[in-house]
C-alpha cells in the first residue's frame, strides 16, 4: 500500500477512481453479507472498515488531491464508507438476534419440574369458619365479643336463668374445677359472653360471639369434649322474633347458599323465652319431593338441626341490669364445627383436632 506522496498525480491515483471505490465497496458489502456469524463479521469489519481497509486508505488519499477534486472524491468515498458501515450495523443486528435466539433455545428448561421448596402453611378451618361467620355479621354492623374459657359458674349458669336446681343444668355435662367451691367451670356454651356483654355495655347491643366450649363428652366421630360455638345477641328497643328470624335466614343463606332458609320449632332454653330450635333447609336435597326420601344428610326430613335461639328471657336482662320494659333481645347459638362439617362434607369430627397437616392444608389460609 502506498503512503502519502506529494509527487503523486491525483488524476493518476487509482483508489479514488469511481470504479475503484465502487469495486472496493461492493467487495466489502459482499464480505459483510457473507459473514455467517459474529466472528466472521468481526473479520469483515477489520478487512473492510478497519483502519487499514482499502476505503480507509482511500480516505486518507483525499487530502492529497487538488482542492477541486477533493469534494467529488470525498463524497464518493464517504458514501461508500457509509454504505459499508450501514451494512455492518444491519448484519450485526441480524447476527446478534440469531445468536440470542440460539442461546435462548439452548437455555430451555423443563417448566413441568415440581415446585415446593417451602411447603405452604395453612390456618385451621375452624379459625377460618369463625372468621367467615364474624365477617358476615360485622358486615351488617354487628361487633365481635369474646370472653374467657374458664368462667365463673355464675356467668355460665345463674346469670342465664339456670339456677342451681334447674333441671336444664343436667342437660349440660360440665367440667368443674377443683375445689368445687371455687365456682369455676369450663364454659359449656358461649352464652356467658352474652352475659358479660350485657354487663359491660349498654343497649343497643349487636354482637356475635364465636369461641371454644367444653362438655364432658367422650371423643368420637360426632362428639368432642371441646368444640366451637357461635352465638349472637341483640338487645335493642322494639326487637322481635321476626328480627331473629331475619338474622338467621340471612346467616343461613350466606353460609349455605341461596334458598337455604330456616325453620323455627318451639323448644326450651332457660335464657330465652320464647325459645326455638333452628332447622335449615337440607342443603343436599333441599326437601325436594322424590329426592328428600333418599337423602342421607337429613334422613328424609328435608330439614337439618342447626342450633337454638329465642327471645332473651327478661330475667336474664334483669340479672344484667338492663331495663326489660324498654329493651328486648334475641339470642341464637350454633356449632361452628358442625356448620363447618356441613359445608365441607367432613364426616369425622376427630379430623379437626388431631392436627394432621393434610387436613388443614386443604383449606388454605383464608376464605
Amino acid at each position: 500500500m502506498s503512503g502519502p506522496n506529494s509527487d503523486y498525480d491525483p488524476v493518476e491515483v487509482t483508489p479514488l477512481q469511481a470504479e475503484q471505490v465502487a469495486g472496493v465497496r461492493d467487495e466489502a458489502l459482499a464480505a459483510i453479507a457473507g459473514a455467517r456469524d459474529l466472528a466472521a463479521l468481526k473479520q469483515a469489519r477489520l478487512d473492510h472498515a478497519g483502519d487499514r481497509s482499502p476505503l480507509a486508505l482511500a480516505n486518507r488519499e483525499i487530502g492529497a488531491l487538488p482542492p477541486q477534486a477533493r469534494k467529488e472524491a470525498g463524497q464518493r468515498v464517504g458514501q461508500a464508507r457509509a454504505a459499508v458501515n450501514h451494512a455492518l450495523a444491519e448484519r450485526t443486528a441480524v447476527l446478534e438476534a440469531e445468536a440470542e435466539e440460539r442461546l435462548l433455545v439452548e437455555e430451555s428448561v423443563d417448566v413441568t419440574l415440581p415446585s415446593g421448596r417451602r411447603p405452604r402453611g395453612a390456618r385451621h378451618p375452624l379459625t377460618l369458619m369463625s372468621e367467615y361467620i364474624a365477617d358476615l355479621f360485622v358486615a351488617m354492623g354487628w361487633e365481635v365479643a369474646e370472653g374467657p374459657v374458664l368462667e365463673a359458674e355464675w356467668l355460665n349458669f345463674d346469670a342465664l336463668n339456670l339456677g342451681p336446681d334447674h333441671p336444664a343444668r343436667t342437660m349440660q355435662d360440665t367440667f368443674w374445677t377443683e375445689p368445687a367451691d371455687d365456682h369455676l367451670v369450663l364454659r359449656t356454651h358461649t352464652s356467658p359472653v352474652q352475659a358479660r356483654t350485657m354487663l359491660e355495655r349498654t343497649p343497643p347491643i349487636y354482637v356475635i360471639c364465636p369461641g371454644r366450649v367444653f362438655r364432658t363428652d367422650p371423643f368420637d366421630a360426632t362428639h368432642s369434649p371441646m368444640f366451637h360455638q357461635v352465638e349472637g345477641l341483640v338487645v335493642d328497643e322494639g326487637i322481635t322474633m321476626a328480627h331473629l328470624k331475619g338474622s338467621l335466614d340471612h346467616f343461613a343463606e350466606q353460609m349455605f347458599g341461596e334458598g337455604i332458609t330456616t325453620r323455627f320449632r318451639p323448644s326450651y332454653f332457660p335464657f330465652t323465652e320464647p325459645s326455638a330450635e333452628v332447622d335449615l333447609v337440607c342443603f343436599v336435597c333441599r326437601g325436594v319431593a322424590g329426592v328428600v326420601e333418599h337423602c342421607r344428610t337429613c334422613k328424609g326430613e328435608g330439614w337439618i338441626e342447626w342450633g337454638g335461639c329465642g327471645v332473651v328471657n327478661p330475667r336474664v336482662l334483669a340479672a344484667c341490669g338492663i331495663d326489660s320494659e324498654r329493651y328486648r333481645g334475641f339470642a341464637f347459638g350454633m356449632g361452628i364445627d358442625r356448620s363447618f362439617m356441613f359445608r365441607s362434607g367432613a364426616e369425622d369430627l376427630r379430623a379437626l383436632f388431631e392436627g394432621d397437616v393434610r387436613f388443614a392444608s386443604a383449606f388454605g389460609t383464608d376464605w
Binding site: R117, P119, G121, A122, R123, H124, T127, V138, M140, G141, E143, V144, P148, L150, A152, W154, D165, P167, T170, T177, E178, P179, D182, H183, L184, L186, P204, Y206, R212, D236, I239, T240, M241, A242, H243, K245, G246, T261, F264, P266, Y268, E273, P274, S275, A276, V311, P314, R315, V316, A318, A319, C320, F353, E354, G355, D356, V357, A360, T365, D366
Partner: protein, 825 residues
C-alpha cells in the same frame, strides 16, 4: 317419650284418615319433637293369623325332645278352610287355645321366610309364634297364647298383638313435663287439629275419709299431697291383659307383673308416678320426712344408700322404706306373692327430687317426671285408676278407705298485656286468638287489655308473661313469624386485637406453618415429658374435678404438649417434615377465688362484679410452634435442610417484624429447650417466651428428631406493643455507601451485642446493618470468633463523601472495640 298412636287417639278425636307423619309433624311444630316413627309390624310380611289349636299330639323323639304335632284352625286364611298341620316345640298350650300362626309365604323379622317343610315325619305348614320370633318381646320359653275372645281363627293377628300400631317417639324438653304422658301428648294433638279431647284424668273419685291407710306428712313443703288407697285379695298369679302389656311395651317399658304394669300404665296415661307397697309388709303409719343423719336405705335396685338429711324418705315403723318420689325400698317391694297393695300417689317438691336423683345418681321414669313437675291435682285420680285396673284384672276389692293428706298448691295468675305476644313475635295476633290459645292449653283467662292468666295445674313451667307468649305464638305457629333483618347502629368493625390475631395466623401460615387445634388438658405426665423441674411455675395449673382422663386433670399452662403430639403424629404418618402452630388461651390460677355466686334478681354491684372477674384465672393468648424434620426439602433445585434452632427464632422475629414490634433475644436456659440453644424473647423489660431447639431428651420422649425447633410466646404481650399505624419513613434518594467490617470477639460475646455496639457507634448516617458471616478457626484464634457485618450508610440530603463514610465506620468499630473488646480483622 314413646306414644302409641292408638293411645293418643283414645283421648284425641283426630281425623280418622290423618296420616301419622302429619300428626308427628304437627306435634313437632308445637314443640314435641319427633325423634322416630316406629311401626313394629313393618318387619313382618305375609299371612300372620289367629289360630285355634284343634289337636295336640305329643311325639317323643330319639334325641330326647318331645315335639307336638298340632292341627290348627286358621279359618279361610290358608285358602282351603282345612285345619293346618304344624309341628311345634313349645308346651305351654293345649287344644282349644288361641295362638298366632305364620303361614307359608310369611316373613318374620330377620328376613326369616316361612315355607311348608318336612320335619319330624310331618309336613309342617307354618309356625306357631313366640313373642321373640315376632320381635315384640324377649319371651321364647313358650308360644303366645292369646286370651280367649282375642280374635277368631283366620283373623289377621297384627291388630291383636299391636303389630299394626305406630309409635311416635318424642324428645320432650324439660319445660314440657306434661307431655311425658299420653294425657299431655293427646291434649297437644287435639289442640293441633282442633279435635275434641277427653281428659283421662276427668274422673269421679271417692271423697277422702278417715278409714284409709294411716299417713303422716312431716314435711308438707317436700310432699304437699299424699294419697293412699288399698286393694286387698288380689290374685297373685293374675297377669296383665294383652292390650295393657302391649301398650306398656310399645311405650318403651318392660311388662313385669300385673301390679307393676298397672302402676306404669297409669303413670304413662296420666303422667303421675305411682308407687305400690306390699301391704302385708308395711308396718304401721306411713310417715314422710327428711332423712336423719346417717340413715340408710336399700333401694329397689339393691343398692344400699346412705341418705342425706335433704332426702325425702317414706318410712313406716321399721324405718325408711323408700326414697320419696325417686325409688322405693326393698323391704316393702311387691312380689309374686303380694295380695294386698297400698297405692301411693304423692306430689313431691321438684327441687328435692332433682337433688336426690343427682345425689344418688338415680334416674328413673318416676324421677324424671317428679323432678320436672307433675300435675299436683291428679293424685286421687291416679290412685283410683290404679285400684280400678288392679281389681279388674287381679280380682280382689278396693278398700273404702281413702287417705288424702295435704292440698295441691294453687297456681298464681300471671298478668299478661294482651298485645305482648304480638309485640314479641313481630307478628299481628288478634286479641281473640291470644285468649283462645291460652284457653286451648287449659289456662283460665280473665280481663281485657291486661289479662290475668291462671295456668292449668299440669303446667308448673308457666310462671312469667313471656312463658305465656311462647304458648300463644307456638299455637299460632312459629312458621308464621316473618323474616326481618334488624338494622343495628353503625358498628366499629373488628377490634385491633381481633385484626392482629388474624394477621398473626396469616403470617405464620405464610412462614409455612400449619395451624392445629388441640385439647387444653395436661397432667403431671405431660410436665415430666417436658422435663420440667418440680418447682416450675407452669406446673401450677387449674385442676378439673371431673377430667375426661385422670392422666390429664389440669387445664393447660402451655400449648407445647399439643403441638409436639401433633408433630409426632404427622411424622408417624409418614411426613418427612412438619411445621405446626397453635394459638390458644392458657390459664394461670389466680388463687384469689372462690368466684362468688350471686342472685339473679338484679345486676350485681360494680364492686361485686370486680370481685367476680378477679376470681377468674388469668387466661393469656399464647402461641406455640414446632418445626421438626425437613424444613426445606431436597429437590431438583439442590439440597434442602432440616429444621434447627434458628427456625424457631426466625419465626419469632418474623412475627415481631410483621407486628412492628422490636424483640430482643437473649441466651437462656429453660426446659424443655436445649440448655445451650434456647433464646429468651424480650419486649423491653418484659420476657414473653422462649424459642430454640427442643431438648434432645424431650425429642426422644415425644418421638421427634433431634434438632426439632420449638417456640412459645405470649401473644397478648406481643400484641399490646404493636403500634396501630407505624410512622412513615423518609425514603432518601441519595446514593448508598457500603462498608463491610469483620470484627473478632470472644466466643461468649453475643452477635446481638456486637451489632448493638456497631449501631450505637455508627450514628445517624447508618441506614442498615446486617451480619453476613460468622467465622471461627485458627486464623481467628482459640476462643474467638469473627463476625462480618455489612454496614450501609446514607444521608437524606447529600452524597456522602468517602471521608464521612469512613469516619462513621470507624466510629462504629471503635464503639464495638470499647464496649466488647472487638478487634477489626
Amino acid at each position: 317419650m314413646r306414644a302409641p298412636v292408638s293411645w293418643i287417639r283414645e283421648y284425641a278425636e283426630l281425623p280418622p284418615d290423618l296420616p301419622t307423619e302429619e300428626l308427628a309433624r304437627k306435634l313437632t311444630m308445637l314443640g314435641l319433637k319427633l325423634e322416630a316413627l316406629e311401626r313394629p309390624g313393618d318387619h313382618i310380611r305375609g299371612p300372620l293369623v289367629v289360630g285355634r289349636v284343634l289337636t295336640v299330639e305329643a311325639e317323643p323323639q330319639k334325641n330326647g325332645k318331645t315335639i307336638n304335632w298340632c292341627t290348627v284352625d286358621v279359618g279361610d286364611a290358608n285358602g282351603t278352610g282345612d285345619p293346618q298341620g304344624v309341628v311345634c316345640g313349645a308346651h305351654n298350650f293345649a287344644a282349644g287355645d288361641l295362638v298366632v300362626v305364620v303361614l307359608p309365604g310369611g316373613v318374620l323379622p330377620g328376613n326369616f321366610e316361612i315355607s311348608a317343610r318336612q320335619t319330624y315325619g310331618h309336613v309342617s305348614a307354618g309356625m306357631i309364634c313366640s313373642s321373640r320370633e315376632l320381635g315384640i318381646g324377649d319371651d321364647h320359653t313358650g308360644i303366645i297364647v292369646l286370651e280367649p275372645g282375642a280374635g277368631e281363627p283366620g283373623d289377621d293377628a297384627r291388630p291383636v298383638l299391636g303389630l299394626d300400631e305406630e309409635v311416635i317417639e318424642f324428645e320432650i324438653n324439660p319445660d314440657r313435663a306434661y307431655a311425658l304422658s299420653l294425657r299431655g301428648v293427646a291434649r297437644e294433638a287435639a289442640m293441633g287439629f282442633g279435635s275434641a279431647y277427653a281428659d283421662p284424668c276427668r274422673r269421679d273419685v271417692p271423697a277422702a275419709n278417715a278409714d284409709g291407710y294411716p299417713v303422716r306428712v312431716e314435711d308438707p313443703a317436700g310432699c304437699p299431697v299424699f294419697v293412699a288407697r288399698t286393694v286387698t285379695g288380689l290374685d297373685p298369679t293374675a297377669e296383665s291383659p294383652e292390650w295393657l302389656r302391649t301398650r306398656v311395651r310399645l311405650a318403651g317399658m318392660r311388662p313385669i307383673s300385673l301390679a307393676v304394669d298397672v302402676t306404669n300404665y297409669v303413670m304413662l296415661e296420666t303422667g303421675r308416678p305411682i308407687h305400690g307397697y306390699d301391704g302385708d309388709r308395711l308396718q304401721g303409719t306411713i310417715v314422710v320426712r327428711r332423712a336423719t343423719p346417717g340413715e340408710r336405705l336399700t333401694t329397689l335396685d339393691g343398692a344400699d344408700r346412705e341418705l342425706s338429711t335433704e332426702d325425702l324418705v317414706v318410712c313406716d315403723d321399721s324405718g325408711a322404706i323408700g326414697l320419696g318420689g325417686v325409688m322405693g325400698g326393698e323391704t316393702t317391694e311387691m312380689s309374686a306373692a303380694t295380695t294386698t297393695v297400698v297405692i301411693e300417689a304423692a306430689h313431691w317438691d321438684p327441687v328435692s327430687m332433682f337433688r336426690s336423683g343427682k345425689r344418688h345418681r338415680l334416674t328413673s321414669e318416676a324421677g324424671r317426671r317428679n323432678e320436672r313437675g307433675v300435675d299436683p291435682t291428679i293424685c286421687e285420680v291416679a290412685a283410683d285408676r290404679v285400684a280400678e285396673l288392679l281389681t279388674t284384672y287381679g280380682g280382689g276389692t278396693v278398700s273404702p278407705g281413702v287417705t288424702v293428706v295435704g292440698t295441691p298448691p294453687e297456681p298464681e295468675p300471671i298478668p299478661l298485656p294482651i298485645g305482648l305476644s304480638s309485640q314479641v313475635a313481630g307478628l299481628p295476633i288478634a286479641d281473640e286468638v291470644v285468649v283462645a290459645n291460652l284457653r286451648a292449653i287449659g289456662a283460665e283467662v280473665t280481663g281485657d287489655a291486661d289479662l290475668a292468666v291462671t295456668p292449668p295445674p299440669w303446667r308448673p313451667d308457666l310462671t312469667d308473661p313471656y312463658d305465656l307468649v311462647e304458648e300463644v305464638v307456638r299455637i299460632v305457629g312459629y312458621d308464621q313469624v316473618p323474616s326481618v333483618v334488624p338494622v343495628p347502629p353503625v358498628g366499629r368493625g373488628l377490634t385491633r386485637q381481633q385484626r392482629l390475631r388474624r394477621r398473626i395466623g396469616r403470617t405464620l401460615a405464610g412462614l409455612g406453618c400449619v395451624e392445629v387445634v388441640s385439647f387444653p388438658f395436661v397432667g403431671d405426665e405431660t410436665f415430666e415429658a417436658l422435663g420440667l423441674p418440680d418447682d416450675d411455675v407452669i406446673r401450677h395449673a387449674v385442676r378439673l374435678s371431673n377430667p375426661l382422663s385422670s392422666e390429664k386433670p389440669l387445664y393447660a399452662t402451655t400449648l407445647l404438649p399439643g403441638v409436639l403430639d401433633a408433630a409426632a403424629r404427622n411424622l408417624g404418618r409418614g411426613a418427612t417434615g412438619v411445621a405446626l402452630f397453635e394459638t390458644g388461651t392458657v390459664a394461670f390460677p389466680t388463687d384469689r377465688g372462690p368466684a362468688p355466686v350471686y342472685g339473679v334478681e338484679w345486676r350485681p354491684s360494680a364492686a361485686e362484679l370486680e370481685k367476680l372477674f378477679d376470681a377468674i384465672p388469668a387466661q393469656p393468648l399464647f402461641l406455640a410452634a414446632v418445626l421438626a424434620g425437613e424444613r426445606d426439602p431436597d429437590g431438583w433445585w439442590g439440597e434442602g435442610r432440616d429444621a434447627d434452632w434458628s427456625d424457631a427464632l426466625e419465626i419469632v422475629r418474623g412475627l415481631a417484624r410483621e407486628l412492628g414490634v422490636d424483640v430482643e433475644i437473649r441466651q437462656a436456659s429453660r426446659m424443655p429447650w436445649h440448655p445451650s440453644r434456647c433464646g429468651q424473647v424480650w419486649l423491653g423489660d418484659v420476657e414473653i417466651g422462649h424459642a430454640g431447639e427442643l431438648h434432645p431428651r424431650v425429642c426422644r420422649t415425644y418421638g421427634l428428631p433431634r434438632g426439632t425447633a420449638v417456640l412459645e410466646i405470649d401473644l397478648d404481650a406481643l400484641m399490646a406493643r404493636s403500634p396501630e399505624i407505624p410512622p412513615a419513613p423518609v425514603v432518601s434518594h441519595q446514593p448508598l455507601a457500603k462498608e463491610d467490617v469483620s470484627l473478632v470477639v470472644d466466643d461468649s460475646v453475643p452477635a446481638s451485642a456486637v451489632e448493638a455496639a456497631l449501631r450505637a457507634g455508627a450514628g445517624d448516617l447508618l441506614e442498615s446493618i446486617r451480619l453476613f458471616d460468622v467465622f471461627t478457626g485458627p486464623q481467628v484464634g482459640e476462643g474467638k470468633k469473627s463476625l462480618a457485618f455489612a454496614l450501609r450508610f446514607r444521608a437524606h440530603d447529600r452524597t456522602l463523601t468517602e471521608a464521612e463514610t469512613a469516619a462513621a465506620r470507624d466510629a462504629a468499630v471503635s464503639s464495638a472495640a470499647r464496649t466488647l473488646g472487638a478487634r477489626q480483622r
